[in-house]
Subunit: 233 residues, 2 copies
């Protein structure tokens, strides 16, 4: 069909504009000394539950954290995350299947980034569309729940290829769904050799300590780098 090449051209143009904006966001985050982590997954893989606990525990340890959360409709997730007492904003995308850098930038309007150590961005639940949109984040985490099946990395390779770390969530259900951990890990490694994989259950707490230590190390190493670049260390 004649429109296909035109659509591709327009899409590439949009992606290019997004990349330019994402680069400027990344510089802004770096200048403010804030480490930015985004979460991507299928709907219902447990992003919000995990993020609520993450915000609470990092805050309890003295971390200055905040979150942006994307959904097509409802402010439900922002309301859930607000229970952590961290600053939270909902981004409503309407019919758009992913966040983009412009949505993130608009949401930051009245926030003082330099007062934050870490900003979390929870994307729309979608294993395809968020792959192509850089949000200026430092670390992208892809979540995959054990209930989704071991082959999802093979079916949605791009989202794993554009993420930095994979989390296997809802591990408390692994036995009930006869989850094959070796097969799941093999699937991930076959699309993204060497990818770090963490297992956890936000419900039972399994693996949460390791996951938080991992996050704190990332955030801390970034703070050290920022400190060094400012001549503070």
């Amino acid at each position: 069909m004649s429109t296909q090449p035109r659509l591709v051209a327009v899409r590439q143009n949009v992606l290019k504009q997004n990349d330019v904006l994402a680069r400027s966001l990344r510089r802004r985050f770096e200048a403010a000394g804030v480490y930015v982590i985004s979460l991507v997954s299928s709907p219902g893989a447990g992003k919000t539950t995990l993020l609520e606990q993450t915000l609470m525990r990092l805050r309890a340890g003295g971390g200055r954290v905040a979150a942006l959360v994307g959904d097509l409709a409802t402010e439900n997730d922002a309301a859930r995350l607000a229970r952590s007492q961290a600053p939270v904003k909902q981004i409503i995308t309407g019919t758009v299947c992913h966040l983009d850098a412009a949505m993130v930038e608009r949401s930051l309007d009245d926030w003082e980034l330099k007062d934050l150590d870490c900003l979390f961005i929870e994307n729309v639940g979608n294993m395809v569309c968020p792959s192509s949109y850089d949000l200026g984040e430092n670390l992208r985490i892809v979540l995959m729940s054990v209930t989704e099946g071991e082959d999802k990395p093979l079916k949605y390779p791009t989202i794993f290829n554009t993420a930095d770390v994979a989390l296997l969530t809802k591990m408390d259900l692994a036995t009930a769904v006869e989850f094959d951990l070796t097969e799941a890990r093999d699937s991930i490694q076959s699309v993204r050799p060497g990818m770090q994989v963490l297992e956890l259950s936000a419900k039972t707490g399994l693996g949460m300590d390791s996951y938080l230590r991992f996050l704190e190390k990332q955030i801390g190493s970034r703070a050290a780098v920022v400190g060094a670049s400012l001549g503070l260390s």
Copy 2:
């Protein structure tokens, strides 16, 4: 940004072209007397497991059934469905987050539609993108697994609004995930008042008989309509 209106215009054009093609597919299906059912859901909600059992049981009852199955990558689902002995074809979409009418049409090339009673189309796992694309189907079923959370209809209203029936899947896990059936049904009814909802577990067999009776009734009523229009009844 200046590209946004242009992107919207191009997308509307693509959707319009898809609608034209879907209408012609629908006429073709009707002329051949084949009833077409599509399945949409998040990744890992259980479309393929359910479809495999559906094909096997309809075949065992003498039904002439076939399936098209969409994924970004891998032929895994076609291989699983082929165990039912029904004709199956995989559609690989690459980076595209949904099937469209052109992909369906191309896949039908060498199939004799008049030899079929029912064709199933399993869409890419995605709660957003498939909403807008008519595939010429007679019935669109949206699946939602109990592990995804009760509020998904509120967050992804369009996919429920464009479907005809909702299936709550993996009911065998309802207790383990403390699934609130009333809340889930309320969520569905609030975005789509009057929508029919069936509950099932393809793993334990719970609700499968009712679901198959429902399907057979749909397929049969269509056959009666086609028969009447051909002057056969």
